[in-house]
């Protein structure tokens, strides 16, 4: 399968103190990492693309490590995650789906075995297209306080022949979470759901 040709990587960290309510003792961190790479399948239909998932694994690991480092360096602080892809105009939505396995693998590897499915979003778009990457708790998808989304996007990407790949992580619940549901403290932690 083709080499990874990386054009740029963007790391964004948001440190949230309040949203009109009480100021949190520990600010919530929400972070994203976006890498912009060449889409080796752009401009034509290619039947066999699945092998590229393995090629993306080292990139995924680099991105996940960089994001954890920017969030303070301690993987145990990460409580929510998600992943996403924006495919440039000369590609197919299916090319974005190539990110499911390596993106999820990378985060589980770096976080030390998270149990919940990694929520995701993908679309085809042009430079500056924004994508709301859904976020759920890393060990139990039903934890209501951790449902969130982090918007990602890069002003000059993806060009038509590029893929924008994204990982997002958070360090806790929404800053003023108070709508009930399964709490992080009540997670059983066996099935990835509750």
């Amino acid at each position: 399968m083709p080499d990874i040709i990386l054009r740029k990587t963007i790391v964004t960290i948001e440190e949230i103190f309040h949203e009109g309510g009480p100021v949190a003792a520990v600010p919530l961190l929400r972070g994203s990492v976006c890498s912009v790479i060449a889409n080796p399948f752009a401009g034509r239909y290619v039947e066999e693309i699945a092998g590229f998932m393995d090629d993306l694994k080292p990139l995924g690991l680099m991105m996940a490590k960089r994001l954890v480092a920017a969030l303070g360096g301690d993987p145990h602080r990460i409580e929510g995650y998600g992943k996403g892809a924006i495919v440039g105009a000369a590609g197919e939505l299916e090319h974005g789906a190539l990110w499911h396995v390596p993106g999820g693998y990378a985060m589980r590897e770096v976080l030390g075995g998270a149990k919940a499915i990694v929520s995701s979003a993908k679309k085809v778009g042009g430079p500056g297209t924004r994508l709301d990457v859904p976020v759920t708790h890393i060990n139990a998808s039903y934890v209501r306080s951790h449902f969130d989304a982090v918007e990602v996007g890069v002003t000059d990407a993806p060009r038509a022949d590029e893929l924008l790949l994204a990982l997002v992580m958070t360090t806790g619940p929404r800053i003023h979470a108070r709508v009930g549901g399964l709490k992080a403290s009540d997670i059983v932690g066996e099935d990835g759901l509750r």
Binding site: I5, T12, F17
Partner: protein, 194 residues
């Protein structure tokens, strides 16, 4: 803190390739952004000293955040810029009060030096309003390779009673600068211009 900060955001962009070429070394730029409450929102106040003092505080805080995000040493920083977006219930002059009288001193102190005018932009806008932070060489405004800009925006800010304040720094000029003019090797560094 004088400023009531809702959130802080840092963005780091690392560019590996441009124009189909791999750069000799990656070009890095960072923005640090604060979303603060505008204490003068919805009223006319002749005295803007509260905002001027907030500018001084943010000059230090945001410069440290941006520097920590891309460089181990302030000597690596080559260009800088600043910008602000006032929410709809504020005045453009509120952005000016934050950016101009006192922000530059601590910003330059964190970088160790900075003879050149800090290029700036300001506007009034709503949530997710983008702003292009102009960039110029920090010691000589005429260095042509370093004229640039970095776009930032915050999806949920500024609300009408808020101000978004952003600083940007880089460790290099444009990725493939080649249109001549004063180069950084020729800087005299006394008047801030050449």
């Amino acid at each position: 803190m004088k400023a009531r900060i809702r959130k802080l955001i840092t963005v780091v962009e690392e560019i590996e390739r441009e124009g189909g070429l791999t750069l000799e070394r990656p070009s890095r730029r960072a923005a640090a952004i604060a979303v603060i409450e505008n204490p003068l929102s919805g009223m006319y106040s002749e005295d803007l000293s509260q905002l001027i003092d907030i500018g001084e505080e943010l000059g230090d805080l945001l410069a440290r955040k941006a520097l920590a995000a891309i460089a181990e040493d302030a000597f690596q920083i080559e260009s800088y810029g600043k910008a602000a977006i006032v929410g709809e219930a504020g005045e453009l002059e509120h952005a000016a009060a934050i950016l101009h009288p006192k922000l530059g001193g601590p910003f330059r102190a964190v970088l160790g030096h900075g003879a050149a005018l800090i290029p700036s932009s300001k506007k009034r806008g709503g949530l997710d309003c983008p702003i292009d932070i102009p960039l110029g060489h920090k010691d000589a405004a005429y260095v042509r390779s370093h004229f640039d800009g970095m776009e930032v925006h915050v999806p949920d800010a500024p609300r009408s009673n808020e101000i978004v304040v952003a600083l940007a720094i880089t460790d290099s000029g444009r990725p493939l600068a080649r249109i001549g003019g004063l180069s950084k090797d020729e800087i005299v560094g006394k008047d801030g211009l050449r």
